[in-house]
């Protein structure tokens, strides 16, 4: 690629322009909403805390600057990818065709979004009603997770404009076809599950509620919500497990530390565990960010459930490795063995023990760090082991993600975090809506 060609100038301008457009646009919308309080009539005004974001400290200004830099660089790299090809920005090759974007953005992204179906099923199907306050944030996390998965795919797919084709050309034999179909359907289901939150806010605007059928739609969605919760569980079970089946097609390529015919079962079990853990992480972080109270008893119950799931998962993985006779590999001095121990030791055994002891799991710090270990080591590292590290003995050490791949991933995460913050601020995601908000 030629530096300083006219095309590069255009890319540079767009990488500054696109993030700037969105950030200034968001500020303008916030300003307009705040500037016209008359559009929110009556008692509802108090429940609609909209302020123009101001930099209240140097740290906040720095944070915004950092964010703009990440978004700008990420936008630039994504533009480069569509001009000069995937090879220009990644370290991928014909011998190593799937990298960070598949292992992290797609495989980990889907797993970390599992909280949506786990918590929704707990609260609505098993009807353990005290978990209801956790449902909306979990669904929001799930929804954003899937948008990031799709975002990652749009960058990683060679021809993203053909992404609809699996919906038309049915391929019963293809695991990836089934994953694609389920991800598309489940993202729609999550949108429907989240719709009541948006409608609830819209209903506060009398102008909108009068002209559009938002109130009847809201009531209808509430009445049929259980159908979508069940659909969500079925679809999630299918594609969470099938992401594991993807690798069953490659006997001999993936290290026996991970290759197993039961990969789909392991992927599903770890998704359930990380769904619980991710809810703990997300609740703790948002309680800090939005200065809300922490539902420590609820989260401790989730941790207890997570410890049971983790122990089942551990037993299954252990039995599988013993049965396949792959256990000697565990004790070899290799990168793969080290990564395996980090995954199982730090991501499964440690949190399972921490969460099994009642006085420990009631401590917010233990709760948070245990859950973070499940997320980072138990699941993200597991997906990276399956998708990258476990393949290296076969391919040779030919792939380490490029810095540009990391920046694109970071960009997608940033967009997700910003969207979560905006949604939490302007929509009734948390039960105390408005009362504990930052003022």
């Amino acid at each position: 690629m030629e530096l300083l060609s006219p095309l590069m100038w255009i890319i540079l301008a767009l990488s500054i322009g696109i993030p700037a457009f969105f950030i200034l646009g968001a500020r303008y919308v916030a300003y307009r909403l705040a500037g016209q309080p008359t559009s929110v009539p009556g008692p509802a005004t108090g429940a609609f805390p909209v302020r123009v974001p101001r930099f209240t400290s140097r740290w906040r200004a720095l944070r915004t600057l950092l964010m703009v830099m990440v978004l700008g660089t990420g936008t630039g790299i994504i533009l480069l990818r569509f001009v000069y090809g995937i090879g220009a920005v990644t370290n991928l090759s014909d011998q190593f065709a799937w990298g960070l974007w598949i292992s992290f953005d797609v495989m980990s992204g889907v797993a970390l979004a599992a909280g949506a179906f786990v918590i929704a099923a707990t609260a609505h199907i098993f009807r353990i009603e005290r978990f209801k306050p956790l449902v909306r944030p979990a669904i929001l996390t799930g929804l954003l997770g899937y948008f990031l998965v799709v975002g990652g795919l749009m960058v990683d797919l060679g021809k993203p404009y053909n992404i609809w084709r699996p919906l038309i050309h049915w391929q019963h034999r293809s695991v990836l076809w089934e994953v694609g179909l389920c991800v598309a359907t489940y993202t729609t289901v999550l949108l429907i599950e989240f719709m009541p939150v948006i409608l609830e806010r819209l209903n506060k605007f009398e102008g909108i509620a009068k002209r559009l059928p938002t109130v009847p739609l809201y009531r209808l969605l509430k009445r049929v919500s259980i159908v979508f919760v069940i659909l969500g569980v079925v679809l999630s079970t299918l594609h969470q497990s099938s992401l594991g089946s993807l690798w069953v097609l490659m006997p001999g390529k993936l290290s026996p530390l991970w290759y197993s015919l039961y990969l789909p079962v392991f992927f599903w079990l770890s998704a359930v565990a990380v769904g619980l853990a991710m809810t703990i992480v997300e609740s703790t972080l948002s309680s800090k960010a939005f200065k809300r109270g922490l539902e420590i008893d609820l989260l401790a119950d989730l941790a207890k459930a997570a410890s049971v799931v983790l122990l089942i998962y551990l037993a299954a993985r252990g039995a599988d490795i013993l049965a396949r006779g792959a256990w000697p590999l565990v004790f070899e001095p290799s990168l793969q063995a080290a990564s395996f121990w980090a995954e199982i030791g730090l991501g499964v055994i440690m949190p399972a023990i921490l969460f099994a002891i009642a006085p420990l799991r009631k401590k917010p710090a233990v709760l948070f760090s245990g859950a973070l270990m499940v997320v980072l080591f138990g699941v993200v590292l597991n997906r990276i082991n399956v998708g990258i590290i476990g393949l290296l003995p076969y391919t040779g050490n030919i792939y380490v993600p490029s810095w540009m791949e990391f920046v694109v991933t970071l960009t997608l995460i940033s967009v997700g975090v910003i969207a979560f913050g905006l949604a939490a601020k302007y929509l009734p995601v948390f039960p105390e809506e408005g009362e504990h908000a930052s003022h």
Partner: protein
Amino acid sequence: MSASNRKSKLSRRDFLKIAAATTAGFLAGSANPVYASDTSAEGTWGMLIDLTRCTGCNSCALACKESNDLPQADVVPESLDSDAFTFVEARQVVTANGEPETRYVKRQCMHCLNAACVSACPAAAMHSSGEGPVIYRPNRCLGCRYCQVACPFEVPRFDWDNGVNPVISKCWLCYDRLQAGQKPACAEACPTGTLRFGQREELLTQAHAQIASNPGRYVDHVFGESEVGGTSMLYISDVPFDRLGFPTSLPQTAPPEETEKIMSKLPFVIGGMAAVMTGTAVYTHRGSIKSTESDRTAEQSEPSHPTDNQEE
């Protein structure tokens, strides 16, 4: 790229075949007539490559480029690439007599009978013709590269430097020429008799006969006979295959068989999960229909505050 001329048109023969297969499928009441053509090894094309005969003249590689309108048609390719569907690899080996010698190995798509790439593809861009050749249809491709990850022989190549329309490249056994009643371009061009094109079953018989009638000359193995469930391309050699860079730890069954076992269980997973969840929901919601009704009436009486009811 010769995207347009690689597109196979639906001929009358194909139409009759599809019609016959569909009818047969319905008559047999088979659950999945789609799979039928993919795994049957009878009556499919194949190629027998006798590595003892190859002199490394590269006629095949150049003929391939010309026939497929690939760029740089007069440059001898040194690896599989987006502009080379085949190349001849020169390998230094020590023969049975202990002398160092060069062996030339033609590399290309193996055209597996039950191909991992075909099973992997989410949009049927990788497609088994049912006659041996595995064909790529670029206009269906998403560029997901699962075929590359799945291929046991690391054959498919991707346009890493194409921003908006990257395609996969690989040998398609000159399916256009086969339909016109011709041999693949490489087999046509080979001057030494290394490449023998024909029905796979006949070639297998010939290969075993050739090994048997030349004692001590060949390694007693036809590569591709049973590897990954069998491939259309078959190799015989006087040097053990592992020394020529052939993968040695391949399963004897086709990898898609395992994923198909999993896929065939999915209807039960769907049914079971839906039944258990619906059953549980019905059980936990028993007797609560009435309270929902009263909630609704309460909501209707206060239409301006539909959100007061915090229940999901």
